[in-house]
Every structure is written in structure tokens, then in C-alpha cells.
């Protein structure tokens, strides 16, 4: 492997910069998708690229974390956490959908509200299912990794 030009301290700073850069790009991408959803509601092609990138990145993060038995720095893996996160996701998608619909169909506020609620509920349910499945996979992996090795030479 090629020797790094950086010393240990510089390496840690670079990792921090890369981490911050990643999360900045992640949240900005999500924000861009939400804004596009509000202004170009119904045109799936507008945010298709961003959606695909976000999906691939999210899958990479989730699979890598589960594989390494990692859930989160602060939040415990529990039904309560999943419920809260799904609720936030549902509320965000519901609000964005409502804003997009009301912008395009300002004469039908009730319809826009119903659309927002439907999108929010569907997102909430799908998020909750995805998080529950991920949590179970994480717990299984984590338990397997924490088992004492039977062979003394094992890690």
C-alpha cells in the first residue's frame, strides 16, 4: 500500500473533513429533492438522479453499519427510536407533499391536505418497517460479533 503523505493528526483531521463533507452533501441532496418536489410536483424525472444517488448512498451506509455491528452514536436500537425517526420522516414527506400539491392545486386545499396525509402515513409505515428490519439485522450481527471466540487464536 502506498505510504500516506499525512501524519496521524493530519489523517484524523482529513477523516473529519471527509465525514463533514459527506453529511453536508447528504442533507443538501435531501433538501434539493424536497425543494424540487415542491416546485415540480408530479414530474418524477426531475429528482430521479438525486433519488438514485441518495438511495445508493443510504444503502451503502446502512449495510456497512449492520455488517460492522454499529447502530448509532447516541440512539439505542429500540422500537421507540424507530417510531420517532419514522414519525419525523413521515412528517417531513407529508409536509413537502402538501406544499407541492397546494402550490399546484391552490383551489383544492382539502385534496392537498389529504394527499399530504396519505404520503406522510405511507412514508411513516415504510420507514418503520425498514428500520425494524434493519434493527433486527443489526442486533443479530452485533450479538454474533460479541460472542466469545471458541478458538483461542480467534479474534
Amino acid at each position: 500500500m502506498k505510504k500516506s503523505n499525512l501524519d496521524e493528526r493530519q489523517e484524523q483531521i482529513l477523516l473529519k473533513i471527509e465525514k463533514n463533507g459527506f453529511w453536508l452533501a447528504f442533507w443538501l441532496l435531501l433538501a434539493a429533492m424536497f425543494i424540487q418536489q415542491i416546485f415540480f410536483m408530479g414530474d418524477i424525472k426531475v429528482a430521479a438522479g438525486e433519488s438514485l444517488i441518495l438511495l445508493v448512498v443510504s444503502l451503502y451506509v446502512v449495510i456497512s453499519c449492520i455488517k460492522n455491528g454499529i447502530w448509532d452514536r447516541k440512539f439505542k436500537a429500540s422500537g421507540k427510536t424507530n417510531l420517532l425517526a419514522s414519525l419525523i420522516g413521515g412528517l417531513a414527506v407529508g409536509t413537502v407533499t402538501f406544499l407541492g400539491l397546494i402550490r399546484n392545486f391552490s383551489d383544492k386545499p382539502l385534496g392537498a391536505a389529504a394527499g399530504g396525509v396519505a404520503a406522510g402515513v405511507v412514508t411513516f409505515v415504510l420507514c418503520f418497517i425498514a428500520m425494524t428490519v434493519s434493527m433486527r439485522a443489526y442486533k443479530k450481527r452485533s450479538e454474533a460479533m460479541e460472542e466469545e471466540p471458541t478458538d483461542d487464536m480467534d479474534i
Binding site: G69, M145, E146, E148, D154, I155
Partner: protein
């Protein structure tokens, strides 16, 4: 390079990797990886492990130049 000193000291105290991990405040896998020489712990974690095993940093983590070349 495997940290056999740490492993032998743990076994000497009749501790499992899980016991040491709990005392040092890390996961069992982290202890396993340090013993296998696949993870370099921070100085703070080295101190926590030494305290848990009742030894000094020198006892566990100091390597003579000759040993390092092996």
C-alpha cells in the same frame, strides 16, 4: 503484530475478552482486534485496558526495536 502480552495478562487474571471489554468500556470485538494486532487503540483506551488489567503501559504496549522487526 499480535499483542500477546495483553492476551497472556488477561488469561493470567482469568478474564474473558467480554470481561475485559466491560471493564475498559468497549466492545468485545475491539479487545479481540487489539489482541490480534488488527486495531491500534488510542492512548486513552490503552490506559483503560492497563488499568483493567492492573499493569502499566510499558508492560503491555512497549516493544523493543528488535521485537518490532519480527
Amino acid at each position: 503484530m499480535r499483542n500477546l502480552k495483553m492476551k497472556f495478562r488477561r488469561i493470567e487474571l482469568n478474564m474473558s475478552q467480554t470481561d475485559l471489554a466491560k471493564k475498559a468500556g468497549v466492545t468485545r470485538q475491539t479487545i479481540g482486534l487489539i489482541e490480534a494486532g488488527e486495531f491500534n487503540p488510542s492512548i486513552n483506551l490503552c490506559i483503560a485496558i492497563c488499568r483493567a488489567l492492573g499493569v502499566t503501559l510499558n508492560d503491555l504496549f512497549w516493544e523493543d526495536e528488535n521485537d518490532e522487526e519480527k
